[in-house]
Amino acid sequence: MNLYEYQAKEIFAKYDIPTPRGKVVDGRSDLQKAFEIIGKDKFGMVKSQVLTGGRGKAGGIKAVDTLDQGLDAMQGLIGMKIKGFPVERVLVEERLKIKNEYFISITLDPEESLPVLLISPKGGMDIEEVAGEYPEAIGEYVIKLQADLPSFAMIELVKNLGFQRQLWGDLINITSKLYRAFCEKEATLIEINPLIETVDGKLIAADGRLNVDDNALFRQPDVSEYKQEFKDMVLKGKGVDYVDLDSGEVGVLCVGAGMTMLTMDLVAHLGSKARCFLDMSHGVNPAGFKAALDLLASEPDIKYVLVNMFGGLTRMDEIAKSILEAIDKFDGKFTKPMVLRLQGTNADKGQEIMREAGYQVCSELEDLLDRFKEMLREEK
């Protein structure tokens, strides 16, 4: 689960990581409170809260001087869409007097199966750009499951990156708090970018990211509190992994990520393109299929539905029954053309069930692709 900036900063605050004064706001009265918290002199930054990068370039951050300007900015931002994500609230914060911008991130290195710390004196920009242009400006340290970060390694790191000595203590301190939060909150990513050095020599986390392992949410009560805010969790709650691919015309329904990816590739090879995919791995039940079909029905871009299933753990007769039950609920209103393949455990029974209900079903992948080609030709 990816947290919003303001949520990440709430967690940061629990670990005494310095953050700017401010408040998350979704209306006029809240803004007034934010203004009071920040004070007239330092007012203010109005930052749209969206789970995507690059909101600055997209106009999602406004600097304001007065409460009125703040109100204008808030009203302009809320409701706006940034990279397809609607802005529902803004974070209003003090304006910092910036001397330098740095970068600290802890994430997982799947190759080492260990956490890895990245730190850079070049913050405030896309870290992949930094990695490309100034690879030597990123310090990397693989953390060998220690309880604490070893100070000597941290000193080496910040020293070699050219950080000034007077910043070492605060940098190492903040890094070690981040690491503690990373471990305790079971994060997959925790990041400060930029970590701002103010003109009076203080370090403040001006932006924050915190992605928490979905599988650990059951034992992360303070992160789970944020859970209801995410609408894309609805499908996941029904066991369906949904990924929106922005453009395309085919809705792909499979079981298993590998099968899904391969099917998308094959669709592409036939000159078409998937608009989204739904991995039903854990949603093989009427509710899961209903949610999946609802989504496919509601998205006008999706012209075709391609179902490609090879079941091991999932039994094809159950899948067939679930699909039919879900379609029934549309009362004949689910009309998008669909090609189907059911193979694997109890495939014969599943195919029979679908055929009895009037659907054509393939058993071989090649047949499915032929049928799909045919459908593309018919519709065009």
Binding site: E111, L145, N215, L245, V255, G258, M259, L262, F310
Partner: protein, 292 residues
Amino acid sequence: MSILVDKDTRVAVQGITGRQGSFHTRLMLEEGTNIVAGVVPGKGGQIFEGIPVYDTILEARLKQDINASIGFIPPPFAAQSILDAIDAGLEVVVSITDGIPIHDMLKVKDELKDKRTYLIGPNTPGLITPRQAKLGIMPSKAFKPGCIGVISRSGSLSYEVCDELSKANLGQSTVVGVGGDSIPGTTFADLIPLFEADSETKGIAIVGEIGGVAEEKAAKIIKEFCSKPVVALMGGESAPPGKAMGHAGAIVTRGKGTFKSKVEAFRDAGVRVVHKPKDLVQALNSLLSAHR
């Protein structure tokens, strides 16, 4: 021959009396798997399908010469059950569980260092040496004894591939699903040398996908150590970079693990890369006849 498991492997099933555990224990027995113990805390002393049940894997190990286990354990308890099996010194430990917290797996991986245990999974359909031992949940119908060693990150796709191999009468020596999690126990690279050393395995099929660096590492090992023909079925060419692919393992991180880098690594190692299960079978067949 085969790798990791065969008819002499003495298997304990962790969670044998659960819904999943009991269902698949029966299917595994049907495949010929030598299941000699079950483990369910609090149910020690019971008998399930003629198999004695113990409270802990350690107790099972102390009482019987088990050397492998498969666990059907809910995510919150799965890592501990894996650690218990590692602690008991089992040689092969299979974890079916999908959804083990990543930080739990970091501890498991740390514990696996310098241990002799091969952890298969988690989030895997398991592994199978057809008609000898199935420690997994794959549909037996798709598998047939034969000469191809198969390793796959994807469950469903491996069934498809094995089904084709079976139909083509190549069959499989052993099929290992390494699992879809970003932090798997045993990786492709760990398995290549085992297949290389196995006399029954004539060729190797890899079912890979984007994300992680398992394919790149496997390619390196293949280039160095592998004399047998290898074909890889790769998925994810059309996946947009940076999108979460459902599998945590399919997350593209820091520019590594792209479709392109994997395909290049494989080609550099002399591995034929294909895009459809049927093509994989065809490629293996032609390489095997050239190899003879």
